[in-house]
């Protein structure tokens, strides 16, 4: 299961701080929602349901963008290795 590192800080404005590396990022509202859901321990299905419910996006587009997004989170060392 994909999980966000426990010490990642996410603010309401979409500002993300990784205290291990000192890196910070700015996310739009979709990215912020997804990160918060991951931080709350939601699985992919729950993330997908929530995002499709909140935003005007179909399942196929979500899948494609979600995997791209996860890959990026991995590259920035925001995900747990497990």
């Amino acid at each position: 299961m994909i999980s966000l590192k426990k010490n990642i800080a996410i603010s309401e404005s979409g500002f993300v701080f990784n205290p291990t590396t000192g890196d910070s990022f700015s996310l739009n509202s979709v990215g912020t929602d997804i990160l918060k859901l991951l931080k709350d321990g939601k699985n992919e299905k729950e993330v997908k349901t929530t995002v499709i419910d909140r935003y005007d996006v179909d399942g196929e587009t979500f899948d494609k963008d979600y995997y791209d997004f996860l890959k990026m989170l991995g590259q920035y060392k925001l995900l747990d290795a497990s």
Partner: protein, 357 residues
């Protein structure tokens, strides 16, 4: 009531490549236990700290380290006869040799206390000995070699893969991608800092640093890890952030435990993408960003002064993560009279003390 202390401090060069003097003074002025009179010890007349009267009560020029221990001791004796110094904190690598050598004599004859690494610790961590030091203390250190002449450069390709780092024995470091660049940096650094030049294997990763304080008995009194967020063209941090990096704290704790390090220090590492820590430098004194540690809840200079005075100090067990420091430059307007005074008399300050005080 707070304890009154007179503390002499060097490193007033608060410039773009700053000395740690002013940050150390700020830390001591923030102390909840001391009221400090700060005596600045300067080498040059344009060190900005000389003119920062809210930071430094009185300044004396002292001779350059190359003058030798006797000449320096003579000057410190004179300053002490006026100021009655309790603790002296040197902040430059290049002056530490003299002050370590003089520390026993200063305490015995002048009553001035210090809290410095031993000469053995100071010499062992030198850039030129770093690889050996790493082996002894179980630390990963990039392969390195000293060279004394440009004639040795072509042979470096046998032992190193480009790029490599070309370093001065005290300061300065450049990344060289070929022999020609090594030669250019060799000449540039040698002209300024002398020989030897240290060649070090370049390690890919992120530079992370940690400021720490050892009690000389193997205990780490405090430590705050930091990553530079903005770097000047001299490689100095202009902004940085405190990190949640257990691995780095473990490295510092292990190094202090193993070496029984006495005093302030900065460890510079490259953290690779595999989370390996390569030690690239040990600075045997607090870094210029030490005030970040104060901002994070660890007043390490205050703890150092307490240990210099022989007091027992409890180790800090936490610090604030995600605190940033951001430097700025500020033009002071200084009367020519002040510049004249420091240039001609070698002293300056609003609060001159008379010997009878």
């Amino acid at each position: 009531m707070k304890k009154q202390l007179t503390i002499a401090i060097t490193g007033l060069n608060n410039i773009d490549s700053p000395g740690p003097g002013i940050p150390v003074i700020r830390a001591l002025r923030d102390s909840t236990e001391f009221d400090v009179r700060i005596i600045g010890l300067s080498y040059e007349t344009l060190e900005p700290g000389i003119y920062m009267h809210e930071m430094v009560d009185y300044v004396y020029q002292i001779p350059f380290p190359k003058s030798g221990t006797d000449v320096i001791f003579g000057h410190i004796s004179y300053i002490n006869s006026v100021e009655n110094i309790d603790v002296l904190i040197p902040n430059f690598d290049a002056e530490l040799y003299n002050f370590i050598k003089l520390s026993g004599r200063m305490e015995k004859e002048l009553g001035i206390k210090t809290f410095l690494p031993t000469m053995e610790q100071f010499e062992a961590r030198h850039k030129v000995n770093l690889e050996e030091y790493g082996e002894k203390h179980g630390l990963l250190v990039p392969k390195s070699k000293m060279i004394f002449s440009t004639a040795e450069i072509p042979k470096l390709a046998q032992d190193f893969t480009y790029p490599i780092v070309v370093k001065g024995q005290f300061y300065d470091a450049h990344i060289a991608y070929n022999q020609e660049q090594v030669a250019t940096y060799f000449n540039k650094i040698a002209a300024k800092w002398g020989l030897p030049i240290v060649i070090q294997q370049f390690v890919y990763g992120t530079e992370v640093n940690i400021v720490a304080l050892g009690d000389g008995e193997g205990n780490m009194i405090g430590a705050v890890p930091m990553r530079k967020q903005y770097i000047t063209d001299k490689g100095k941090a202009w902004a940085g952030v405190s990190l949640d990096d257990e691995g780095l704290i473990k490295q510092a704790k292990s190094m202090i435990g193993s070496s029984k390090w006495r005093g302030g220090m900065e460890l510079e590492y490259i953290k690779t993408s595999d989370d390996e820590y390569y030690l690239i430098e040990i600075n045997p004194r607090f870094p210029a960003w030490v005030y970040l540690a104060v901002g994070c809840g660890q007043n390490l200079p205050e703890a150092l002064v307490k240990m210099a005075l022989g007091e027992k100090v409890e180790a800090y067990d936490s610090y604030e993560i995600g605190k940033m420091f951001i430097r700025y430059s500020w033009d002071m307007i200084v009367d020519m009279k002040e510049f004249e005074e420091i240039s001609t008399t070698g002293e300056l300050g609003p609060k001159k003390r008379t010997p009878v005080d």
